[in-house]
Amino acid sequence: MPEWKKVCWEDVTDGQDIGSYEMQMDAVKISCGAWATRDSNPIHHDKAFAERGSQKNIIVNIMHSEGLLCRLATDWSGPTGELKRIRFNIRGSCYADDTLKVTGNVIKKYIGQDDNYMKGLHLVDLQVNATASGNPFCDAQITLALPTKKAHS
């Protein structure tokens, strides 16, 4: 059984790099993402349709994009990091044949103070950015709850 990463809240510092990954996009990957998210818009599987809409190729859909951004967050934290909140922004498009690159860093760590579902949790806010062959694609501010060394959670 593989050993999974486990980032504890105490080990995190504001501003720290959370690593990156790259993925080569192609028509198979993009259409796979569209169907896995039940998105039947032809802009995600039909190149001729995309070209009629003045796009150069099919593009990665929103729900797939969000998954790709959140993946970096939990790749970094390990499976004990829990996704609590995502604020997502689109900046451009990611086409078949683009190289997707996802990077991120810690904005800040804190204990949830607001009177909501995150109160008392050990939280980190992450900035995660994605580019497509170097061009802006999308980004997100992602809040993760992390285990602490004290609570053995």
């Binding site: 998954g67 829990e82 995502i86 689109i90």
Partner: protein
């Protein structure tokens, strides 16, 4: 032009639930995991997931809305939703999403049946923006499981506007 009486009356109203066509299931989780190449063992590794605080496989939280995507055939009937009724005086021709937040409260597990409602939170008076004049429309989609527990929310703002020429 100011918002109509009817548009103002729609603010705060919520649709009836719209149900996912299928229960949450492992094959659809796996399809999503393949597309994202997400190795998180909570999503696919039974043994790991059993030993975790969740006690079993959970769906990726970001799949919340995926479960509720409408089937392609036969096309389902949708309930009344307040945003579809907006009149918005003005010749607005374009929508753009300006903000999207998703909050995750409870784990979603294989076997769960999700539904969501759509609530119209606010509609601004016409505002002048960098890309044109329009109204900001904020809605909340509230996702529940078969026990009626709210598992998460999606808060989305779109600008309906007239593209500047």
């Amino acid at each position: 032009m100011a918002l109509s009486e009817k548009d103002r009356s729609l603010i705060g109203r919520e649709s009836a639930p719209i149900y996912a066509p299928d229960e949450v299931c492992k094959p659809m989780i796996r399809h999503w995991v393949e597309a994202v190449e997400d190795a998180n063992p909570l999503y696919t590794d039974e043994e790991y997931a059993r030993g975790s605080k969740f006690g079993g496989i959970i769906a990726p939280p970001q799949m919340m809305m995926v479960w509720c995507m409408p089937r392609m055939w036969p096309w389902p009937e949708f309930p009344w939703v307040p945003m579809a009724e907006l009149e918005l005086p003005g010749d607005y021709d374009t929508f753009v999403a300006t903000d999207m937040i998703r909050e995750f409260y409870l784990p979603v597990r294989p076997g769960d049946i999700l539904s969501y409602t759509m609530k119209l939170d606010s509609v601004t008076e016409e505002k002048k923006t960098r890309i044109g004049k329009g109204h900001f429309i904020t809605t909340t989609q509230i996702y529940r499981n078969q026990r009626g527990e709210v598992v998460g929310k999606e808060i989305r703002t779109v600008l309906k506007y007239k593209a500047s020429t």
